[in-house]
């Protein structure tokens, strides 16, 4: 447009004020963290092999977990929002459960099912020779378990808000429900899917309790950044802060660069 700042009127104080308070509430503790960061240590820390490895592993596992969540979670959200299922209320509440479960207990639950002695774990072992605990795959599983509800619930919310008549139009054009989903519904709820994906990725990246319980902690294989941070906190709190700041910086960079490419402005 023309350079003029033509807004639709001033932003109302009654909205801007709480928004600012909310922003301060979220950002101030980070500022506190940054103020206490021993910046001098940063470079040495950053280039110590352990940190690089943990960072790489974190990004890899969080991204893989996000892929798993999208592949399984978006269809689940769709079934919850559109499928005429009996017991939908209960299923929807069950999906929320991993949110409430303390992550450590979540890890225990995963071990009970997918561990060496768990029924599914035994099958996986005898059929494919796959054992999840203490492996990188296990980290992905633990992160996906914890992060998936975020995706499912965000996407379901978006699907419910979408106009179902546009799907009717697709149906009259001969599109099956799958084609309609893929080409009509999904693109029209893209902002919701992106929001859910961001939540899911960030949650997976910060995941700690379920990971260490289910996948253990072995450098280069299952030690993600949050695990490194936690252990550093035990011996050297300053180092823990440095590591956290590194994790934050990377995630802010990734989110700020990726997200707006998907959603625009």
């Amino acid at each position: 447009m023309n350079g003029r700042r033509v807004s639709r009127g001033r932003l109302p104080a009654v909205l801007v004020l709480p928004a600012l308070v909310g922003l301060a509430f979220l950002v101030l503790p980070l500022v506190g963290l940054l103020l206490r960061t021993p910046w001098a240590e940063l470079p040495t820390r950053l280039f110590s092999t352990g940190v690089g490895e943990a960072l790489q592993l974190s990004l890899l596992c969080a991204s893989l977990a996000t892929v798993v969540c999208v592949v399984l979670g978006v269809p689940l959200a769709w079934v919850l929002a559109r499928g005429e299922l009996p017991g939908r209320r209960l299923i929807r509440a069950l999906v929320t459960v991993p949110l409430v479960l303390p992550p450590v207990v979540g890890g225990v639950a995963l071990l009970l099912v997918l561990g060496r002695r768990g029924p599914v774990g035994e099958l996986l072992d005898s059929w494919f020779g796959v054992s999840l605990p203490f492996t990188t795959a296990g980290v992905v599983v633990a992160e996906a378990f914890v992060a998936m509800p975020f995706l499912v619930i965000s996407v379901e919310g978006a699907l419910r808000a979408a106009d179902p008549r546009i799907e009717e139009a697709a149906a009259t054009l001969g599109a099956s429900r799958w084609l309609t989903f893929r080409r009509v519904t999904l693109p029209s709820v893209m902002p919701g899917v992106v929001a859910g994906t961001v939540l899911c990725w960030a949650r997976a990246l910060g995941e700690f309790g379920a990971t260490i319980t289910f996948a253990g902690n072995f450098p280069g294989e299952t030690t993600t950044m949050p695990l490194a941070v936690y252990l550093a906190l035990e011996s050297d709190p300053q180092a823990a802060i440095v590591l956290s700041v590194v994790l934050l910086a990377v995630s802010v960079a990734v989110l700020a660069s990726l997200r707006d490419r998907w959603v625009g402005g």
Binding site: L111, R116, I212, A215, G216, N217, F218, L233, E234, P237
Partner: protein, 226 residues
């Protein structure tokens, strides 16, 4: 509550591994000192140290490791009040056929150790060194409870944990003593804090822990005397 004087409170910040035994000792202390109430804050020792350094209103700090006590600048004359000794924990029935520390070097067995940064990991390192074994762990747990959980669920064949933990875990876990354990003990220091709001009663509580009644309770829970 007593009618003569108002209740005074002692706030004790104690390592999570002391939860049961300190709760019992606290009850005893309250019985012996009417008018004083003990409030506990159980959490990881390092978190407690952080909280104290950030001005938490604590009277007493009982840490699971000297290192965390050292982080607290404000501790007055910490003393070691008890120790915890390592033991090999195996799942019920010992499916991995573990006999001693030597098996911890076997790459084919699933082994859990604590991470070096936490006290039980440091102790395990000492024990393995004393036994001349190069450990081949599959995981370095963030605390001893996590290692024990893996034993309980049969995910690992063996782990090095504290005697107190094996004892608390009950029938699901079996303990195997080993000779090098004596060289790998972990000291638990306790101290009254400099800015303690109720220093007098705090001192009394520490003395109570260090008394015979305290010692007996600790020994019953599997701790060894210092």
């Amino acid at each position: 509550s007593s009618s003569q004087e108002p209740t005074r409170t002692v706030t004790v910040f104690a390592a999570a591994s002391l939860t049961e035994v300190f709760t019992a000792i606290g009850k005893d202390f309250e019985a012996a000192n009417p008018g004083v109430r003990i409030t506990f804050n159980f959490a990881g020792s390092s978190a407690l140290a952080q909280q104290i350094n950030q001005g938490a209103p604590a009277d007493v700090f009982a840490s699971a490791a000297p290192a965390n006590m050292k982080q607290v600048t404000d501790a007055l004359a910490p003393v070691t009040f008890t120790r915890n000794q390592l033991e090999i924990a195996v799942p019920k029935g010992n499916p991995g056929k573990i006999t001693g520390l030597a098996d911890f070097g076997d790459a084919n067995r699933k082994i859990a150790l604590c991470a070096e940064q936490v006290p039980c990991g440091a102790a395990a390192k000492k024990a393995l060194a004393a036994a001349g074994v190069t450990g081949a762990p599959d995981t370095l747990e963030q605390d001893v409870k996590a290692a024990l959980t893996k034993v309980r669920l049969g995910e690992v064949d063996a782990a090095l944990v504290y005697r107190t933990d094996v004892k608390a875990a009950g029938a699901e876990v079996e303990g195997i003593d080993f000779p090098e354990a004596a060289s790998a003990v972990n000291d638990y220091p306790i101290a009254v804090l400099g800015k303690a709001p109720n220093a007098a009663d705090a001192k009394r509580f520490v003395d109570f822990v260090l008394s015979d009644r305290g010692k007996t309770a600790l020994t019953n829970a599997g701790f060894t005397a210092p």
